[in-house]
């Protein structure tokens, strides 16, 4: 995706939030394009997928900064954007230099050491603490060396950096969702009611907010599914929105989602249907997902997939480039879990090359295990933002 594409994404986000005019007065289009280009450069330097970044969130505070440089630096500081490889390497070195210098001040020369270990309350405790410090540094330095060596040889991206980043992005997104819900709640829609009374069509963003609000209240409907559903069906929602009577637009779109979309999305396609559609159904090969810090082994055979995955299967098969697509369930093992209508959304879909190397996984990964009453027993959610081509 190009700079112009993400420029448009940012523009439409800021328009929806009503800040575009202000932003454009402060930063001319060329400067904004430069900001998008710089962000893309950082993302692509790690071969991460720009689609996995929330561009609306990235640009939401741009008005707080006077220059594009300070704006981008703030994104890095907040953990929304990765450091460049060069920045990261410098940081690793300077961190250990500092720690070693601090240790050096305590142990060399001998007089300093003697003073240090004998001024405390207990000599043994001082020595023990020094040794512990050294042991930790040895361990950390060895680990950093191993990781950098693996990175140099093209085997991994430094996981620690990405693990942290993914975590912060998730936290930020959760805050965003909470904030959005609070705004919706606070409004109580008096304006919307007034608009409906006078026959004025509410803005699409308002309708989307209502849909989101509605879906998060549907019992048993996984929250992660809500955003996916809106995103993937955005065009269809827009058509419904435009066709509906202005006075009934929200109700009509929600009714349509309930009657059409949810049943379609949660219907299971059996292995027989899959074969008829030309999709190879076979036990998937285990995919080692070291890049996500978790290893997935021994997944069960695929007996069905959701229709929403069919499009991906087809597209990948049509390209001819990827011939081997595995659908891997993170928590296999119990029949009632495998057959849960929502489990398909909880899968990691990975592209795997002919020689079984991981090419990439879908951008949003949610794993959870349900009990017989469909209560979540265990869950975690993350974005595999560092997709390596190996």
């Amino acid at each position: 995706m190009s700079v112009s594409h993400y420029y448009e994404v940012v523009k439409s986000c800021l328009e929806e939030r009503g800040t575009w005019e202000k932003v454009i007065r402060k930063f001319p289009p060329k400067a904004l394009e430069a900001a998008v280009a710089k962000i893309l450069e950082r993302i692509e330097e790690w071969r991460a997928d720009p689609e996995t970044f929330d561009w609306c969130v990235l640009f939401e505070d741009i008005l707080d900064y006077d220059t594009i440089e300070s704006f981008i630096q703030s994104l890095v500081d907040k953990g929304y954007l990765p450091k460049t490889k060069d920045e990261m390497l410098s940081e690793i070195v300077s961190q250990y230099e500092k720690e070693l210098a601090e240790l050096g001040y305590m142990v060399v020369p001998k007089e300093v050491f003697v003073k240090y270990v004998t001024t405390g309350k207990n000599y043994e405790a001082q020595i023990k603490s020094l040794k512990e410090k050294i042991r930790k540094l040895e361990h950390d330095l060895e680990k950093a060396r191993r990781e950098l060596l693996a990175y140099k040889e093209g085997r991994i991206l430094p996981l620690t950096v990405y693990g942290e980043l993914a975590k912060r992005l998730e936290e930020r997104k959760a805050e965003e969702v909470k904030k959005g819900a609070a705004v919706v709640e606070a409004r109580q829609r008096p304006e919307l009611k007034a608009e409906l009374r006078y026959g004025v069509r509410p803005p699409l963003s308002e309708v989307i907010a209502r849909i989101r609000d509605h879906l998060t209240r549907v019992e048993g409907f996984p929250e992660v599914f809500v955003e996916d559903l809106i995103e993937e069906n955005f065009e269809a929602i827009k058509v419904e929105y435009e066709l509906a009577d202005p006075r009934e637009v929200v109700g009509r779109v929600i009714t349509w989602i309930k009657a059409e979309l949810i049943p379609r999305l949660t219907r299971k396609v059996t292995s027989g249907e899959l074969r008829a559609m030309g999709v190879e159904v076979r036990p998937p090969n285990p995919v080692s997902m070291v890049y996500m810090g978790r290893r997935v082994v021994a997944p069960p055979p695929i007996s069905w997939v959701y229709p929403r995955f069919m499009e991906w299967f087809r597209r990948w098969q049509e390209t001819g480039f990827i011939w081997n697509v595995d659908l891997v369930l993170l928590h296999p093992g119990k029949t009632h879990i495998i057959h849960d209508p929502f489990i398909g959304t909880e899968a990691v879909t990975c592209l795997v090359t002919e020689d079984q190397k991981l090419m990439g996984c879908n951008t949003e990964v949610l794993a959870y295990m349900l009990d017989m009453d469909r209560r979540i027993l265990y869950s975690y959610r993350y974005r595999p933002i560092a997709m390596l081509r190996i």
């Binding site: 490889k85 060069d86 390497l89 690793i92 070195v93 250990y96 230099e97 070693l100 240790l103 050096g104 142990v107 060399v108 001998k110 050491f113 003697v114 270990v117 004998t118 405390g120 309350k121 207990n122 000599y123 043994e124 020595i127 020094l130 040794k131 050294i134 540094l137 040895e138 330095l141 060895e142 950093a144 060396r145 950098l148 060596l149 990175y151 140099k152």
Partner: protein
């Protein structure tokens, strides 16, 4: 006999020797790390140069 706060000099000497040895090993590890970082940087530059 030394007290917990002031142990015998030979004990302090032995501990100091051990700690300094390990400290030097840490410095060596850091030097190796820096070398590795330089190698990664120069490899990156070569790639950029080649791509251009």
């Amino acid at each position: 006999m030394g007290s917990p706060k002031n142990p015998p000099p030979e004990v302090v000497e032995r501990d100091w020797q051990e700690i300094v040895k390990r400290y030097e090993r840490l410095q060596q590890l850091l030097a190796e790390l820096k070398m590795l970082v330089e190698e990664i940087r120069s490899a990156g530059k070569r790639v950029v140069k080649g791509a251009g």
